[in-house]
């Protein structure tokens, strides 16, 4: 099958499911005369996006900035931390269980603290996106590095490679598939972290990102605006997931099953 055919074959099933769900949603709202402040039709959500386009796209840009910086930080911190934990067994035994706290503590509970520590605006939102998305990257990196083939490690040892050289030339490439599994999960979590961070710590008015638009629209019963902002946040998550997948495919596609 040629490439356009392969792409079409993989794209049409989810598109068909989405269209069917949107149709059902529209039908339910119209058939049961549900008021728009409870549940707007998908068409009304689209109209709202169109009407408020300049404001919503600017808000999406702000949320995207916080998400990307937070995700980038969690990727760098996650890979470095996972690598250090794999290299130093005492640190792994002592610190790794504590990193689970990042996963266990609800972000909503600590978001106000982030505002106190980092102030209102972008820094606290970035911190929220980073904190919520860093654990899967640490876990993915550590799992990958600990599953390196023992025979290959032995070969590097025989040839006198240092631990850092072995990490760079063997451990890191070997663990890339599981690092990318962690990054894919982190991509979605970073958007969630940014939106939750914006609920608590973002500026409103002209500077409002999507999270702040959602909270202010909710207070004013502007449900179509809430749905429009949520739809754009979801698209942001999809786009980031897609970019991570694409980079993973470029790096792994030639040699690893997971990227074919």
């Amino acid at each position: 099958m040629k490439y356009p055919g392969i792409i079409f074959a993989s794209v049409w099933p989810p598109v068909a499911v989405v269209l069917i769900l949107l149709g059902l949603w529209h039908f339910v709202v119209v058939a049961f005369s549900i008021p728009e402040f409870l549940l707007p039709t998908p068409w009304l959500v689209l109209q709202t996006i169109d009407e408020q386009w300049p404001r919503l796209i600017a808000a999406t840009g702000r949320t995207a900035t916080a998400t990307l910086v937070g995700f980038g930080l969690s990727a760098v911190i996650g890979i470095i931390s996972g690598s250090l934990l794999s290299l130093v067994s005492l640190a792994r035994r002592g610190v790794y269980p504590l990193t689970l706290l990042l996963q266990m503590v609800p972000l909503v509970a600590i978001a106000p603290m982030l505002v106190i520590w980092f102030g209102y605006g972008l820094p606290s939102v970035i911190a929220a996106a980073c904190i919520v998305s860093v654990f899967p990257v640490i876990a993915g990196t550590l799992d990958g590095l600990q599953s390196v083939d023992a025979g290959l490690s032995e070969m590097f040892k025989i040839h006198g490679a240092s631990r850092v050289r072995t990490w760079w030339s063997l451990g890191l490439p070997w663990s890339l598939p599981s690092v990318f599994t962690g990054l894919r999960i982190a991509a979605g979590l970073a958007v969630i972290g940014a939106i939750v961070g914006e609920f608590v710590g973002a500026f409103g008015g002209d500077q409002a990102p999507l999270g702040a638009i959602i909270t202010s629209a909710l207070k004013q019963n502007q449900t179509p605006t809430v749905f429009a902002a949520v739809a754009l946040a979801a698209m942001l998550g999809f786009a980031l997931f897609g970019v991570v997948n694409l980079v993973g495919w470029l790096l792994l596609g030639r040699w690893h099953e997971s990227a074919r």
């Binding site: 025979g151 070969m155 025989i158 006198g160 490679a161 050289r165 490439p173 040699w255 690893h256």
Partner: protein, 248 residues
């Protein structure tokens, strides 16, 4: 090439948990020649090779290797990095030793030509057959001009025809360079074909049961059909069998 002397003095290896793999062993490898360690599966012969290669440390005794060796290692599996091209896999030992990328490429291409893989330099290991991967591993073992070659049942997983062909190629490469080589195998025919001396080991813990000097000058396909080749195999088999029956 300077020939390497390898001497083992009372070498013993006990693994954590109490398993004794090698019992106080004295052994000297003939410099510039091939020695085969032959023994039943699990007798400790691979451990002995790993001790000489410095991968394991002896529990007791000492290993003397002089002068400082350049070790080439060929394992039971090809151990190729799946993300690297065949050329970059072969060049890995040089790269780890800090050689320039130009010399890595030139040397890797020379070794690939040597094992008949000149056309496959750009391929990834997944694109090669089992025999071709093993050839690439042989090329990698020779990349740093080793004066001590350690072969750990390198062709055990291959079909008979490929295995015999690779045996002939390795025999020719080792003899041309006067490399001190140690071959670990459980195949009597392979040991007799490749080695100048065969050391027969007992079941675990490895002890030397007997040593056989191999008198053949030429190592080619015709050797396998000679009566002397079969007779020697039969004598070694008897020693091996007696050792196994004595050990059980």
């Amino acid at each position: 090439m300077t020939e390497v002397n390898v001497r083992l003095h009372g070498v013993q290896k006990i693994f954590p948990g109490g398993v004794e793999a090698v019992a106080a062993m004295d052994l000297e490898l003939s410099p510039g020649r091939v020695t085969a360690l032959l023994g039943p599966t699990g007798c400790g012969k691979s451990t002995l090779l790993r001790l000489i290669g410095g991968v394991e440390t002896p529990t007791a005794g000492s290993i003397e290797i002089e002068p400082e060796p350049r070790i080439g290692f060929c394992f039971q599996e090809p151990r190729l990095l799946p993300w690297r091209s065949v050329r970059r896999n072969v060049a890995l030992p040089l790269e780890l030793a800090g050689a320039s990328s130009d010399s890595c490429r030139i040397e890797a291409d020379r070794r690939l030509e040597m094992v008949g893989l000149g056309d496959a330099a750009e391929f990834l290991p997944a694109a090669l057959s089992g025999g071709m991967r093993m050839r690439a591993a042989v090329a990698r073992a020779f990349i740093a001009d080793p004066n001590l070659l350690l072969l750990d049942e390198p062709f055990a997983a291959l079909d008979e025809v490929t295995r015999l062909r690779l045996d002939e190629e390795v025999a020719s490469l080792v003899r041309k360079r006067s490399i001190t080589a140690l071959l670990v195998t459980h195949s009597i025919a392979e040991a007799v074909f490749l080695a100048d001396e065969v050391v027969v080991l007992s079941p675990r813990p490895a002890r030397i049961l007997d040593r056989f000097a191999i008198p053949f000058d030429e190592r080619n396909a015709a050797l396998r059909g000679q009566e002397g080749f079969a007779r020697l195999q039969s004598r070694i088999y008897d020693v091996l069998l007696a050792g196994m029956e004595g050990g059980t």
